[in-house]
Symmetry: C2
Subunit: 448 residues, 2 copies
């Protein structure tokens, strides 16, 4: 029946969501009695060309999950079936608990290339085992939040609502994506389970099929508005401005009908919004708002507003749901220290920063960010508060530090205001925000 319930990943199975080599390498460390502590650092080397910053999201969440990771009996017996693992090692895996430390940036921290999002210090066999899963978990939320925040910036304070559930990559992306959207500042989601689970307002309008299932549009509008006072009516099924006229006519005939908004979902949205606004205002309905959807992204929203389109809220799906212009980021989870010594892979043309690290974001007197410094973790630096916090210590989650995840949305809004405008700009190109290495890290890097 496993094949029939493929959307469930039980707690004891989650540890198998990894690349085989993590398990074979871990068995090798176990056989070789390599128990020294290692540090792995999670970062990305290059900003996607369509991004000027990424929002680090999911890393606190991942740390929490990792601190609870277990190999269930069923998982161990499936591993035994592969024939690649000794019974002694499988017994050891059965008792496996993460006993190390995890440092993370708070959820919703804007980050740039080469900055650590998360670091793990643990016996190497523990730290290695987390690699594939931590990357999968952090990438999803980071990629989605980094796209969504651009929609929020483009809408200049107007609400942006997620309509993307049907376009997202599977069930987990759709549910956990809403957590990323909340951090990024979306006003709501159409996704019921995602919204319930991650505490984001759940919004909904109506679909063309509802209109088409009725014999005429006016009848459909009338019925829906009666069922749902304060609703949003979808006016473009046949002819958008005709649809608006029908809504106005219904309200004239039945003044008790309560319509809050109309939604435009096709055609020239800017032109139709202007036409609809004029009709509504003329009929005395300047309180009825206009929601637009249909293939929107940050550039289309910016262009509509630039052109003065009287749109009050945006519904976005396809482009945001998979972060279509940057659906993947080259996160790395690299060994940077083992047994107290720096370790770095030699990669021509690539920066690999050794050792345990810390990140600082310098501010001027008025609180504006003037540059980041990547430093060694224990280095003394006069650059304000360190950003990486210890979330898991000796395998135990620090609930107080975890609470920082709750404030992600406020953190994002506050942080974005403090960056230079070139970081917030939507157009392709790099910002002029400086990210530097500390003197100690600089010295160590040129040495290794």
């Amino acid at each position: 029946m496993k094949e029939s319930l493929p959307l469930q990943v039980e707690d004891g199975e989650l540890a198998l969501l990894t690349d085989l080599y993590q398990l074979t390498m871990t068995q090798a460390y176990w056989k070789e009695e390599m128990h020294e502590w290692a540090t792995f650092s999670l970062f990305f080397r290059k900003m996607p060309p369509t991004r000027r910053f990424m929002l680090a999201c999911g890393q606190q969440h991942a740390a929490e999950l990792l601190s609870r990771l277990r190999f269930g009996d069923e998982a161990l017996s499936r591993l035994a079936d592969t024939g690649q693992f000794d019974q002694g090692f499988l017994d050891w895996l059965g008792n496996w608990r993460f006993e190390g430390d995890i440092w993370t940036l708070p959820e919703g921290t804007p980050v740039f290339a080469n900055e650590p999002l998360l670091e793990v210090d643990a016996p190497i066999a523990q730290a290695q085992l987390l690699e594939s899963l931590v990357m999968n978990l952090v990438q999803l939320e980071t990629v989605l939040a980094s796209k969504a925040v651009r929609l929020v910036l483009a809408a200049q304070g107007r609400p942006v609502v997620d309509f993307g559930m049907r376009r997202m990559h599977g069930v987990d992306a759709a549910v956990r994506g809403v957590r990323a959207y909340r951090s990024a500042g979306l006003a709501g989601t159409s996704n019921v389970l995602g919204g319930l689970r991650h505490d984001l307002a759940i919004n909904g309008t109506m679909a063309h099929s509802y209109i088409l299932a009725h014999d005429d549009e006016t009848e459909a509008f009338r019925a829906f508005a009666r069922h749902y006072p304060g609703t949003t009516l979808l006016v473009d099924t046949h002819d958008t401005l005709e649809g608006v006229r029908k809504v106005i006519e219904i309200m004239r005939e039945e003044p008790e009908v309560d319509v809050k908004s109309i939604r435009l979902d096709s055609g020239d949205l800017g032109k139709l919004a202007k036409g609809a606004r004029a009709l509504l205002d003329e009929a005395g309905h300047d309180d009825i708002t206009i929601v637009a959807s249909s293939g929107l992204d940050e550039h289309k929203i910016a262009a509509l507003l630039e052109d003065g389109a009287p749109i009050d809220a945006f519904g976005v799906g396809t482009q945001m749901g998979v972060a279509a212009d940057a659906p993947v980021i080259d996160l790395s989870y690299k060994l940077v220290e083992y047994a107290g010594t720096p370790r770095v892979k030699h990669s021509p043309g690539k920066i690999n920063l050794p050792c345990r690290k810390q990140l600082y974001r310098r501010q001027d007197e008025s609180g504006r960010y003037i540059g980041d410094i990547i430093a060694l973790r224990d280095e003394e630096i006069d650059a304000g508060e360190p950003l990486l916090r210890q979330l898991v210590q000796g395998g135990r989650l620090d609930e107080k530090a975890m609470a920082l995840a709750e404030d992600a949305r406020e953190r994002v809004t506050d942080a974005l205001d403090r960056f230079p405008e070139s970081v917030r700009r939507l157009a392709e190109g790099e910002s002029d925000y400086p990210v530097e290495l500390s003197p100690e890290l600089e010295r160590l890097q040129s040495k290794t």
Copy 2:
């Protein structure tokens, strides 16, 4: 604790993975006593510019899940909390069972724009409720399989292995993606849970961190090869050809060491593969194969092979894991018939095909495909076997029809051979494969 176990979607919760308007529209149908049967059709309007065909995958799987969909008590109580639903409706939802029919293409059917992948016939309140979930489920597998099959085509018979788990969008994408990869013809996956669950060979090599955790590369190679006879050694941590020389030296010193392959993961893969091949052959190791990975996609694989790179197998991750060049497809699930009459939204410039449909793929005498015909479901057409099969009848899954999912991989290979070369070509552009409407559908479409 719900927020703490966010990777689980319980069976009774899955029905909440939908857009709010599906539930409000369904309640409206319930209130209005609209119980007539409707047909919804799942299709996409436009091929992504980087695709010449899509592989329809996940639709049988989705049909199976949908036929078992239930609203659990917890789900109903969460819905009640939203204040938008009457108790009578919630009771009705508690007894909700899908009682309609679902027709699908077999898993792994190549499809083109406007062709139905799946059709649902059911009382409208049942058919409407499935929309968002069926789109989410089918899109994931279709998008991933349609990318993966291009890698398989590019590799011209050489094995292609999925290394992408860490780059995929969350847990469900990573697990269910392997099902799509199996259908598309990948030879294996590094993803343990995905491979176990969806019966694809699980492969693994080693990571740079294993080399770096040892004091020297030779020592690391030696240890790993002893643990895993027949293994693949990663040779590029410091210097690729030096790494190959070390492998050769180890085998000279310890002839019992059994190395099956080496893996190249950085640099100029073509040049390094030639250099490595020459060194291995010179040392009498022409049986040791070369695996290449690192940012590969179908175009890079094709270019490497065109240039004669002696690479025997490919590991692919990032680009394939999110189908980066076409991460989303504009699937539509449209009402096409209600209460026995055709229903179509008027969309300037868009084709909307009314009514229940069937798809035919015409063959010439030698079995080559010469064109598709989209027809009405009950139309008499002399064009061979109909492709859509009834998988769910009166709410019950037909296990025999479901078994067709097992043969997806063979179906894909067989089908691709029968299409004209312009369908298989990797370069951007449209194929010349014709898709036509049947006479009846043509007439009905121009009428509506």
